[in-house]
């Protein structure tokens, strides 16, 4: 029985590892300029933790194979080489790995999230609310109108609480429910939440960032491939959370300029 268990353990280990090695279920296509760094980091994490996983599982199988079927009734009281050195070795090995991953990983994360955006970035304001996202472009004047939470009125599509009556710069602001951006141009988002915490997650962009009510959170990236991708909320935000999504549409530069002009004309 012990040998069979050891065999099953080894087979499970090999098959589950094979799924990762062959990338059977892997990340979606990367459409961002920084995504390769995230993917590289993920691969390194997978490899280093995967090697430890395989070794420890196979060691477990080996021990079960070796000691599992003893019928003489004697208890195993000793460990080859002693128990203490083994425990110390395991703690140091796993601890060093976790520390190394944290150190290298946070460097990669900071390189993406804590660097200033390109000064020529396209500025877009993002409002999240139960249960939708809205995106605001400054319009032809290049200036965002000030936001006033007390003026938010869904009935007139005033999702940001603009005051066009008194604020001229708010009159040409373009507000849309789809994040439309040009390809290969840096984009700088400012994330705001109207009510509760939400999240901006685009797997293809390798970006996941929370919205926090009361904070304006900067986020920047460059999309390198045209296409339409889904933005989903990954922070449980209420009853309609499952339905909180929007789309990001990455357009060729000329097409984006035309889109922006068309939208400006509608304001």
């Amino acid at each position: 029985m012990g040998k069979l268990f050891a065999l099953v353990l080894a087979i499970i280990t090999v098959i589950s590892t094979a799924f990762f090695v062959t990338h059977t279920w892997w990340l979606p296509v990367d459409i961002s300029a920084h995504g390769h760094a995230i993917d590289h980091q993920l691969s390194e994490t997978m490899i280093s933790s995967g090697v430890l996983f395989v070794l420890s599982q196979l060691a477990l199988a080996a021990f079960v194979w070796r000691f599992g079927d003893r019928r003489d009734g004697r208890a195993v009281t000793t460990f080859p080489g002693g128990v203490t050195p083994m425990v110390i070795f395991a703690v140091v090995l796993v601890g060093a790995e976790v520390l190394a991953l944290t150190f290298v990983g946070s460097k990669v994360w900071a390189g993406i999230y804590q660097t200033p955006p390109d000064p020529n970035s396209l500025q877009i304001d993002v409002q999240s609310e139960q249960f939708a996202f809205y995106f605001r472009y400054p319009g032809p004047d290049g200036k965002f109108g000030a936001t006033h939470p007390d003026l938010i009125n869904e009935a007139s599509e005033n999702y940001f609480g603009l005051d066009p009556k008194n604020d001229v710069s708010a009159r040409d602001d373009i507000v849309v429910p789809t994040l439309t951006i040009p390809v290969n141009r840096p984009v700088a988002l400012t994330l705001r939440a109207k009510d509760v915490g939400h999240a901006f997650y685009v797997p293809e962009l390798r970006i996941q960032q929370d919205f926090v009510p009361g904070l304006s959170i900067p986020l920047h990236f460059t999309a390198t491939q045209t296409g339409k991708y889904e933005i989903v909320c990954t922070q449980l935000c209420g009853l309609g959370h499952y339905n909180m999504r929007a789309y990001i549409e990455v357009l060729p530069a000329a097409q984006f300029e035309q889109w922006l002009k068309d939208k400006a004309a509608q304001q």
Binding site: P177, L239, Y247
Partner: protein, 239 residues
């Protein structure tokens, strides 16, 4: 074979009964007219329903426009409630069930008038979930989820109140439940026209209410079966 026949008979009976209830009273005066605006109203903005592909597809050819200020040809104002706010109010009728549809991620009708305790059935005709949330202050506030294919929600409002209604899932969905004690009311159509019928002789104050521009009132005296024509003109600003 018998069931469809009975269903047909029942439908016919219902139709006849409903029809009988709607026959305009032959006696009494009429106040009719038009609601218009001067100035520049806000633009009716197209609503982009990209977040809800089912509804976006329905309106792909002609996007739905915002209805908070709905205008028509000849400066007409639509969705304006005109009702008798003072004078002989008449007895509220509460028998006929009022229907509200959530269709294409829109409330149909945008402005729904009810009498206190009048039965209200709310339908979800869409292949998506809705969450109807009337923001009542005088009546108890509630908010109910209605998944795809769910049976209609039965509701009623006990006290007169103008209640804004929103959908918690689709922020652009917006409508009104106007609970009125008087049966003398009308909602202006696309041409801005309204008509209050069956008014006994007497002095009346007629109020016109528009969700963004507020209210206006006019005093009208009705004698006999006469028809008086009045016009409400709201001053519109673009913002």
């Amino acid at each position: 074979m018998r069931t469809p026949y009975i269903a047909l008979l029942a439908t016919a009976t219902l139709a006849l009964t409903a029809g009988a209830g709607r026959v305009a009273p032959s006696a009494g005066g009429t106040i009719s007219g038009k609601v218009t605006y001067t100035g520049t109203p806000p633009k009716m903005k197209p609503i982009d329903m990209a977040k809800e592909p089912f509804c976006a597809r329905l309106h792909a050819a002609a996007p739905v426009l915002t209805e908070n200020v709905a205008t028509g040809p000849g400066n007409a104002l639509r969705w304006v409630l005109v009702y008798v706010s003072a004078g002989e109010q008449g007895a509220a009728s509460t028998t006929e069930t009022v229907r509200l549809d959530q269709k294409g991620c829109q409330y149909i009708p945008h402005v729904l008038v009810l009498q206190p305790n009048q039965p209200l059935d709310i339908y979800n005709d869409d292949s998506t979930s809705h969450n109807i949330h009337p923001l009542a202050k005088v009546n108890p506030e509630w908010n109910k989820s209605q998944p795809i294919g769910a049976p209609p929600i039965h509701a009623k409002w006990e006290k007169p109140e103008f209640i804004p209604v929103k959908c918690n899932v689709h922020p652009w969905m917006h409508g009104w439940h106007l609970v009125l004690a008087t049966p003398h009311y009308a909602v202006s159509g696309e041409d801005g026209a309204f008509s209050l019928q069956g008014l006994p002789p007497g002095k009346y104050t007629v109020t016109a209410w528009q969700e963004q521009f507020g209210t206006q009132t006019q005093d009208v005296t009705i004698s006999g079966n006469e028809t008086k024509t009045i016009t409400f003109v709201f001053k519109a600003t673009p913002y």
